[in-house]
Amino acid sequence: MILDTFSILAISSAVLAILMLGTMYLRANLNFYALHTLAIAMETAWMAQKIHDEHLYWVAFFIALLKVVIIPRYLAWVIRNIDVESDSGSFIPAPVAMLTGIGMLGASYLLSVQLSSLWGDIDSRIGAMAAMSVFFTGVLLMLSRKIAIGQIIGFLVLENGIYLFALTQTHGMPLIIEMGLLLEVLVVVMIFGLVVFRIKKSFEHIDVSRLTNLRE
């Protein structure tokens, strides 16, 4: 099977996301996240060139700016301030999590072949597969990590998955919606960061698995 640039970028973003499952070091996670998002930004740019839509270039640029530069830097700053290096532990050991991620990739392939959406001259099924895999990887990250930063990264990956799916299955949404989504993600991450500070301050730790007291 000969893969075109579109498929290669999509799959590489999925693979980079899976690699994130393999390490507990938060800095490494953030770097992988930046790379993975860069792949998605490039995918957007490729799409813009393919369908001659100028506004997608802008979307690609903003994704690169926000998700590749600003958000990882902000999170790195948060990590430095609350003084954690790596996740204190994971519900699923890293290698197993990675294998599960790969399994999920296979599962998403099975799911994506059920979709018969082919638009223009691009077979979007590979894109759908990658998007679903990224989505599942995000869910896995959120489920397996114990500390709150892991959850944030998981959420970001999940969000990327949704975006990738939208991008590969449609002609790209109107600029205003894309911008709204980006802004929303930015705000959510900012709030998450602040909440993590609060949790650290109140509980002296940010281990989500220990926050189980239910209050009515």
């Binding site: 489920l143 989500v208 698995s209 189980t212 239910l214």
Partner: protein, 667 residues
């Protein structure tokens, strides 16, 4: 169609004014909160219901109009459309009549309990309740109906809990909450089903497109739960006893009316088979009347007694509706009309008498601070007006002439007789005849029950200290009670006219006929003469008894062994009054009596005599408590899902997502 004042006739506009007054009042209460004045807000309640009553009365028999009340208000998928037609007007008039009277009564009662009830919350809930109730009557589509119905139930729940310091009131509110949720779920399910079948949310479209029975059954049970039909009557004795008396009066009258309205509007129509529903209605109604009257007879709590009596009356109405459904199925339109008119008539009568009785009970409660019959007695001397009105209302509700209760029950009997005499199936005819028998038995039982209530409450000697200081609660309370009595009497004396007023309302749901003959045939002249003669004699006899000269001389029977002037403790109690009947029905009532006599020579010189009678409600013990236990165990098992772990919650979300994707692909 949007709201355009010029298009709407003035009498309909009056209904709008009434609603407007209530909306404004609800907002004003919100602002004044703690400092809310009872008199002012009951005046607003009165004004609102007065406008609505006038509007509804004069819109009666007019052509139905429907319009969009607030074009901007759109409940998700249905606009807030209102339809004012004959049937709705009929029910609105009853509601307005009762609410007017209760509005006058409320302040006196509330002042007696001013340290226990928060006036702001109370009045806010009352206005919400009345608004939602009125709009439920007027709504044309299922969504509006459900929203207002639920608002009404929640407001009623808050009102039951208005004296929430007491644990019993909270418990009652909780029970009511549970029951009303079940009712709403059933009604909602049935509405969804109807929607799927008729592809419309509008009630007007829900007929003639084929008959489906299951949603009708769901709706029927939903309404039965809310109306307190056996076996769902359990909540009534709790909620109605613990709520403040005006609220109880509201609930047992106007809220019942809404339930019956829904029944008549949606189930008498030809959208269901009629036969199944008719049989179920007749069966449940019959059990309800027996059950209600028996438990009312045994009850010690005055308000609970009245609420069990409501169960009985709902049963009677249900029997009439059941006969109407069966007759409609058999194409006997005359009989269907007769039964429906009987049901409507009994609905009004029950609302009016029961409201009057609850006002009376409220007066007694407010004055003596007890509802327990064992501590009441001799109130007739202290509260003569209340006693007289309570007696008159009891006569009305136990269906004695010349009050209205007699007329409506007579019509129920007539419809049952006609069912027996008709050429319907043998089973219908046999059951019609046997229900006549049961109904007359129940009539006697309820007579005994009210004899007990009046005898123990008002006659004899006071059983507690409180009664010696008791006085009439207020002038307004007396006026309200007299108002109810006068209306009951007036309706009882003008039955043919009232019956002729009722049948246009029936035309809304039954196939049109030119005229119904013999709806209430006036008895023959000789019979009338005899009845008048007997009545005159009875009145004369009463006056004779009252006017017997008091010589100041007291005569005792020779052999009463010095017991002539018995103390209150030696009097007959409510329990002893009903004991003989309770013994007969012991298996149903689970009635047990334990007598224990202690002392050396037990027979002649007992030292201590202990007596205990126990009744444990059959349904609660056998069905409700075990099922509650099962539900509790199940809920504990479900609560284990709620661990507090964020990871598990995320997993739940993810699993749900996977399931949804799976379903999506399958579809």
């Amino acid at each position: 169609m949007s709201f355009n004042p010029e298009m709407v006739p003035p009498c309909t506009l009056a209904i709008g004014y009434g609603l407007g007054v209530w909306v404004a009042a609800a907002l004003v209460v919100f602002l004044t909160a703690e400092r809310a004045k009872h008199t002012f807000f009951s005046f607003l309640l009165f004004m609102g219901s007065f406008f609505i009553g006038i509007g509804a009365f004069f819109s009666y028999q007019q052509k139905a109009i429907s319009f969009n009340l607030l074009p901007c208000c759109y409940f998700a998928i249905a606009p807030l459309t209102i339809r004012i037609d004959t049937l709705a007007c009929f029910f609105l008039t009853i509601v307005a009549l009762v609410v007017c009277a209760l509005a006058i009564f409320s302040p006196a009662y509330l002042k007696a309990y001013k340290d226990r009830l928060h006036p702001g919350i109370y009045w806010h809930c009352i206005f919400m309740f009345m608004l939602a109730l009125t709009l439920t009557l007027l709504s044309t589509n299922a969504i509006c109906f459900l929203i207002f119905w639920e608002t009404m139930s929640l407001a009623a729940m808050a009102l039951i809990a208005s004296d929430h310091i007491r644990q019993k009131a909270r418990h009652a509110a909780l029970i009511y909450m549970g029951i009303t949720t079940i009712s709403t779920v059933l009604i909602f399910a049935s509405f969804l089903w109807y929607y799927r079948h008729f592809h419309s949310w509008y009630f007007a479209d829900w007929h003639a497109a084929g008959s489906i029975t299951f949603p009708a059954l769901l709706l029927f049970f939903g309404l039965a739960v809310k109306a307190g039909v056996w076996p769902f009557h359990i909540w009534m004795s709790y909620a109605q006893a613990e709520a403040p008396s005006p609220v109880t009066a509201f609930m047992s009258t106007v809220m019942k009316v809404v339930g019956l309205y829904t029944f008549i509007r949606l189930l008498i129509l030809d959208n269901n088979d009629g036969l199944v529903l008719g049989y179920i209605a007749i069966t449940l109604g019959t059990v309800s009347i027996i059950w209600g009257s028996l438990f009312a007879l045994l009850e010690r709590d005055l308000k609970r007694l009245l609420s069990y009596s409501s169960v009985e009356n709902i049963g009677i109405i249900l029997i009439a509706l059941g006969v109407c459904l069966v007759a409609r199925h058999d194409k006997q339109i005359d009989l269907a009309y007769l039964a429906l008119v009987a049901a409507l008539f009994h609905t009004i009568n029950h609302s009016l008498c029961k409201a009057g009785l609850f006002v009376g009970a409220g007066c007694i409660e407010a004055v003596t601070h007890t509802r327990d019959l064992a501590f009441l007695g001799g109130l007739a001397r202290r509260m003569p007006w209340t006693a007289a009105c309570f007696l008159a209302n009891s006569l009305a509700i136990t269906a004695l002439p010349p009050f209205n209760g007699f007329a409506s029950k007579w019509m129920v009997y007539q419809s049952l007789f006609k069912l027996t005499m008709s050429d319907a199936q043998v089973i219908d005819r046999i059951s019609g005849l046997s229900i006549v028998g049961i109904l007359s038995l129940v009539g006697t039982l309820s007579l005994a029950c009210y004899t007990k209530a009046i005898g123990i409450c008002f006659l004899g000697r006071p059983r507690s200290e409180m009664i010696n200081q008791a006085n009439e609660l207020s002038h307004s309370a007396v006026v309200v009670q007299i108002f109810f009595v006068v209306i009951c009497l007036a309706m009882g004396l003008t039955v043919p006219y009232v019956a002729s007023l009722l049948w246009p309302a029936c035309c809304e749901v039954l196939p049109k006929v030119e005229q119904v003959h013999n709806l209430f045939p006036v008895p023959l002249q000789t019979v009338t003469c005899i009845a008048v003669a007997i009545t005159c004699f009875a009145v004369w006899f009463l006056f004779y008894l009252a006017k017997r000269p008091d010589t100041g001389l007291k005569k005792y029977v020779t052999w009463d062994c010095g017991y002539g002037n018995l103390p209150a403790r030696a009097e007959e109690t409510g329990t002893s009054f009903s004991e003989s009947i309770a013994r007969i029905f012991a298996p149903i009532l689970r009635y047990r009596m334990i007598t224990e006599i202690q002392g050396k020579d037990r027979r002649h010189f007992p030292e201590i005599i202990k007596f205990e009678s126990i009744t444990s409600p059959l349904l609660e013990g056998l069905i409700y408590r075990p099922s509650m236990r099962v539900i509790l165990i199940l809920s504990r098992a479900i609560a284990k899902l709620q661990t507090g772990s964020i990871h598990l919650y995320l997993l739940y979300v993810f699993m749900t997502l996977l399931v949804l994707i799976g379903i999506g692909i399958r579809l």
